[in-house]
């Protein structure tokens, strides 16, 4: 059986804007990925527990609220704590470039800013998958 790329698309924070998350979820589906979409208002704890139950390869988090410097490190810490450190975290939303660089230093795979064509994260994920799937 052909293995599928499983990806959790999560939307933390209190704002009610999930258009971006829905657009990216649909693009991922059309790329052949199995997308677990959890809806709005997810805390890092909820995101990590859902990712573990769903055994995803990648967690895609979109943050528009400005809380990215809290949310991403918390997710990375929780993943390590729960023995799921090999899950790959990527992000999107409104995140200044200097923060993006810091987040990548901390272990986030990549940050895709507003207006990024959906093909970019898809290519990134396929490339990451082809380099890492054998280690699962």
């Amino acid at each position: 059986m052909e293995e599928k790329i499983r990806i959790l698309v999560a939307k933390p924070g209190l704002d009610g804007h999930d258009r971006g998350a829905k657009v990216i979820a649909t693009a991922f589906r059309d790329a052949g990925f199995e997308v677990i979409y959890t809806g709005l208002h997810q805390t890092p704890e909820m995101i990590v527990d859902a990712a573990i139950q769903e055994d995803v390869d990648i967690i895609s988090v979109s943050v528009l609220s400005g809380a990215h410097m809290t949310i991403f490190p918390r997710i990375l810490d929780l993943l390590k704590e729960k023995g799921a450190g090999e899950m790959h975290v990527i992000g999107g939303g409104i995140i200044p470039n200097e923060d993006s660089a810091k987040l990548v230093d901390m272990g986030v795979g990549a940050i895709f800013g507003p207006g990024t064509p959906t093909g970019e994260p898809i290519d990134y994920i396929r490339d990451w998958w082809s380099r890492n799937r054998s280690q699962k």
Binding site: M1, R6, R29, D30, A31, E34, I36, E54
Partner: protein
């Protein structure tokens, strides 16, 4: 991977499963879903621990409120301290092979509770309303100590009835708008259900739908189905109305299943026989498709078959003979 290391890894995984390690449960489901050698070994190891969980199938047309009912049932069962496993199946796109699995949106309690494990599954080309590995995934959850299993199908029409092979009790949800569909459904789905629930009962046409279902059931020979006559209940799952009665009907059915030992043995034996036939057919088919260079040979044969210089029957027979004689180590 050779059989040795797969077996050792499966054994380690099984041990972690029994200790209710959530990460191990999740990995194990992926293994059985991807039909990996570890998954195959694991299913063999855990089989002796399965057979006692209550498996409840939740099925119905798209939009009938399956996820919402599952959410409400989780609340009742967790309130009693029961450990609950959920398998929620959504369709895989036949065009891209991808899927959006969104059932968690309607199950906000699905995280942060060790007594609850929710897994979304894509149908991956299966047409029976569940995924090819949903049965196996339910065995994994059971081995991990989830005594109640809720299996939510994709939105069904007339013939996606596979869930009844997995479930002890199948609950069919209908909504007032689907009134006309009762006519269309009366053959297959109507006979598969052990409990009927008219959900979103407050909508117009609720009473008429109950009447339609009752009328259809009237003409079914329930003795042929062992004597259980499915109750028709009403609910508004989104407001938790009628849900405890649904759970009560499910428990009545489970009690009925076990009260007559001869009958319960017969039902179980029949299900196991069908299950083994499915597994054998699948194993045979996979064996044949592992024939060397099968894809290239197929491409080559298609040309000849199109030109009528080879018949498809001869070609299939040749492949089958070769594959039967082939030994695999």
């Amino acid at each position: 991977m050779a059989a040795g290391p797969a077996k050792a890894e499966a054994r380690a995984l099984a041990e972690r499963l029994v200790n209710q390690d959530r990460r191990a449960v999740a990995r194990a489901i992926s293994h059985v879903e991807n039909r990996s050698p570890i998954g195959g070994e694991l299913l063999d190891i855990i089989y002796a621990r399965t057979g006692d969980a209550h498996r409840i199938g939740i099925t119905g047309p798209p939009g009938s409120g399956k996820s919402t009912l599952v959410h409400a049932l989780i609340g009742h069962l967790r309130g009693r301290g029961e450990r609950v496993g959920v398998l929620a199946v959504d369709p895989t796109s036949p065009f891209s092979g991808g899927a959006i699995l969104g059932d968690r949106i309607r199950m906000p309690q699905a995280t942060g509770d060790d007594g609850l494990f929710v897994r979304s599954m894509a149908s991956r080309g299966s047409l029976g309303g569940v995924a090819a590995a949903t049965y196996e995934a339910s065995e994994v959850l059971e081995a991990a100590g989830y005594a109640w299993l809720l299996i939510e199908t994709v939105g069904v029409g007339q013939s996606e009835l596979e869930v009844m092979e997995i479930a002890d009790t199948t609950v069919l949800l209908l909504v007032p708008e689907s009134g006309d569909s009762v006519q269309a459904m009366k053959a297959g789905v109507m006979e598969a259900a052990d409990v009927f629930v008219v959900n979103k009962y407050d909508r117009e046409g609720g009473d008429r739908l109950v009447q339609d279902i009752e009328n259809t059931l009237q003409f079914t020979d329930w003795e042929r189905h062992g004597g259980w006559k499915p109750p028709v209940l009403t609910a508004i799952a989104a407001r938790d109305e009628g849900v405890s009665a649904v759970l009560g009907a499910v428990e009545d059915h489970l009690a009925w299943l076990t009260q007559d030992e001869t009958r319960s043995h017969r039902i179980r034996a029949e299900k196991i026989e069908r299950r083994v036939r499915v597994l054998l057919n699948r194993a045979l088919s996979e064996h044949v498709w592992r024939e060397r260079h099968i894809e290239e040979r197929l491409t080559e044969a298609i040309g000849k078959i199109a030109e009528r210089t080879l018949s498809p029957y001869r070609w299939v027979e040749t492949i089958l003979q070769e594959s039967v004689q082939r030994r695999e180590d």
